[in-house]
Amino acid sequence: MKRFIVTVLCFCTIPVLLLVVVFCITDPYRTIHKFNPSNSYDDLREYVSTELFLRNNSKQHYNAFIFANSKAAAISTYLWKSLIGDNVRPFLFQAWSEDIEGIQQKVDFVNYSGNELDYVLILIDPSSFPAVPNRNDMIHLRHPLLSGQSKIGFEIDVFKNYIQKPSQWVRSILLFVEGDKTPLVCDTITNDVFGYYADIWDEELQQDSLKGCTQITRESFIEDVSHLGDADIEIGEPIITAYYESLLRHIKAIFDTQQSQYKILIMPSYIYKNKLFNVKDLSLLNEIFGEKNVYNYFQKNEYTTDYNYYIDPGHPGLLAGSMILREIYNTSNTTQQ
């Protein structure tokens, strides 16, 4: 019995202890030692966004913010800046799986940091109002400064995710050996995911509107959706709970105090694979933020019905995002419900 327990304990604990040591030394997500944006880990997107903000804010004095989830991959802050004014200093404050609670925390954080919120663009969709928020996966982890979690608790959560993926063990060691040679995951000033294409993105997009999508995912996606039609359109149940409503009103109050020029953009999803916003929720958003500031692109329109605009059913490509940005800043709000 003793031999059995000792063997099993050694079998389990030795690799775990070894991984703890590797984790502490290699610091795979740049959460333990000094943050380095050129070497950060893009799954931990909110952490990267927050650290980048802290690192740059004293020099940049950001005054224009995009608060968004993964759909910000369709939005270029460079284009946004060209549409709202040359004197703005934009920052994409993004988390891959952002929800309204996260946006409220970030708006609060920016406000308390003394920044001006002159221009704000909030990207939302039905996933911004989860019935049960997930806080365990890597893409859902919150920066401790925003969530109020202890630093050690945050590191334990990161480690729990790290230990579950052997490919990350290998990656962390390679990263450690290679030093800063890994490619950038974001623009180090604006935090723009597609910042690298600032000069060339129009040309790139004309050639490939689904840039960033691998061949297999693209083929699977097209095969997945090409047979769908209007019969597959579904309207979701109301998802803005009283709690979310209170957060939205809190955000609006800060915008009012800051006299922000803000827009709430409901991002499109491929309509035949996603449930539409409920009318009740839309009315509530209109009531809180004002009808002229809420842009609902998640309805039947050219963006939601053509799969060529999409990387996958939930993520429009940069071409759609750019066209929408131009529409909401250059023309009147014609797509509103």
Binding site: M1, R3, F4, T7, V8, F11, P15, I163, Q164, K165, P166, S167, I216, T217, E219, S220, E223, D224, S226, H227
Partner: protein, 463 residues
């Protein structure tokens, strides 16, 4: 509580340590096993506990009455009726009502019951029934120890998806002191590891491709539909045999030996051999308690055929209240009966050889067609899926993210099973050098961590 859940990862070691701390006091160990089993089962829904307790009590009481009463046959019949009525009520009532109403174009909504099917009800009901029949046949003495009997019915490793144990095998083990055997325990862990690999890496990954194609088969080419049919064969095998491996391994940690439920069935060289290697505990149950009492093969060829069809039909119906399962049973019988008539059911002995690969592939294809019927939500869908194999151009199958990985893992399974086909199970590697052994263990753990799909329930829980 699922075997592939975090809860079980804590539950099993805690029960294991407590159990062996009580070493030498087997009656208290039995109480611990009973409490743990009820906790394990109640994790789904505590209301299920009342049903299993009732079934256990009826079978325990009638077991004593069968031995002590002059009306032993009556007590046996009464117990069988009670158990089957419970099973019929929870599992088949709505099915028969709707089938009857459909036949005569009647409205039946008001007659339907809104009840949840208790997990594993078919498994423990059959286990309880076998006890009473064995007592009646004087194969085993009824036990007066109610704790032991309740533990026998609810022993958590095999409670919800088998193997369906016999009282002749399990009860004596609960009635005797158990000693810790280190090698047995290590072998138990090996089986758990292999079972988890099959379930989490192969079955759950196959499920993603298979489920998607089954939802949209009319839009895919023949090769995609064919690939989905093949992958479902591996999904159901790895799902169910993975569960059995974890069950057998878990039981072995407690010094309890359960019967084997699978013996590498896809290496079978005929359909008859397949049924000796697939879900062995259920098939032998039907042979012992249905086929033989019906006369078996003792009353001429015609009766033998009828009896064979009867057990395949019942076996199909046992799997679920759906005509697809009945059709699957009929299909299986049609494959089996010709072999039986030609006297080829016992043709193959020993482990398969390379030269027998064509027979193995042919058997797999025949079985895979059966799985299409088994997987379909209704007979119409089964037919549509089957015709989709031929209706569309046979170009390259649809690629989805992770498909190559699935194919590599399935290939790995086939290779491992082939080379380990003469062993008790695929990870029976106690004789390997320690370094190789540990490398294999860690490699499997890495594969489970890296490629494990989202946790899904076991297919056989619904039965």
């Amino acid at each position: 509580m699922l075997f592939n859940s975090i809860e079980y990862a804590f539950f099993l070691p805690i029960v294991f340590v407590l159990y062996w701390l009580l070493s030498g006091r087997y009656k208290i160990q039995n109480i611990l096993l009973l409490v743990s089993s009820y906790l394990f089962y109640g994790w789904w829904d505590w209301r299920f506990l009342m049903l299993i307790a009732f079934t256990s009590f009826c079978s325990w009481g009638s077991g004593l009455m069968i031995q002590n009463s002059k009306r032993s046959k009556g007590w046996l019949a009464a117990n069988i009726v009670v158990n089957l009525l419970i099973l019929a009520l929870f599992k088949y009532y709505n099915f028969f009502i709707t089938s009857f109403a459909d036949l005569f174009h009647l409205q039946c909504n008001s007659l339907l019951l809104n009840i949840v099917l208790p997990v594993g009800i078919s498994f423990y009901t059959f286990q309880a029934l076998s006890y009473n029949i064995d007592v009646y046949r004087h194969k085993i003495e009824p036990t007066r120890d109610i704790i032991v009997f309740f533990t026998y019915v609810s022993f958590f490793p095999q409670l919800v998806a088998g193997p369906i144990e016999r009282a002749t095998n399990l009860l004596p083990q609960f009635l005797a002191p158990r000693c810790f055997n280190c090698e047995e325990a290590f072998d138990g862990l090996r089986r758990i590891l292999w079972g988890l690999f099959k379930k989490i890496v192969i079955a759950d990954n196959c499920a993603m491709y298979v489920d998607y194609v089954w939802q949209t088969y009319s839009y895919h080419n023949g090769s995609t539909v064919l690939l989905a049919a093949i992958l479902f064969s591996f999904q159901i095998y790895c799902d169910f045999s993975g569960y059995s491996d974890i069950a057998i391994g878990s039981a072995r940690l407690f010094g309890i030996r359960l019967k084997d439920n699978f013996r590498m069935p896809y290496l079978s060289r005929s359909v008859a051999e397949f049924w000796k290697r697939w879900h062995i505990s259920l098939n032998t149950w039907f042979v012992d308690y249905v086929y033989i009492p019906l006369g078996g093969s003792r009353h001429g060829q015609y009766r033998t055929i009828v009896n064979t069809f009867a057990i395949f039909l019942l076996s199909g119906l046992w799997h679920g209240a759906n005509w697809t399962f009945v059709l699957w049973g009929v299909y299986s019988a049609f494959l089996f009966v010709p072999l039986m008539l030609l006297g080829k059911t016992k043709k193959y002995h020993g482990v398969p050889k390379w030269q027998e690969l064509p027979q193995i592939i042919l058997t797999f294809c025949l079985v895979a067609i059966g799985w299409i019927i088994f997987r379909a939500p209704n007979i119409e869908n089964a037919w549509e899926f089957f015709t989709a194999l031929f209706n569309h151009p046979f170009t390259a199958p649809m690629m989805r993210v992770g498909l190559k990985r699935i194919l590599v893992m399935v290939s790995l399974l086939i290779v491992v099973e082939w080379f380990m086909r003469h062993r008790e199970h695929a990870l029976d590697i106690a004789h390997f050098p320690a370094v190789i052994r540990y490398l294999i263990y860690y490699a499997l753990i890495l594969l489970i961590l890296e490629y494990g799909a989202d946790s899904q329930s076991f297919i056989y829980f619904q039965f």
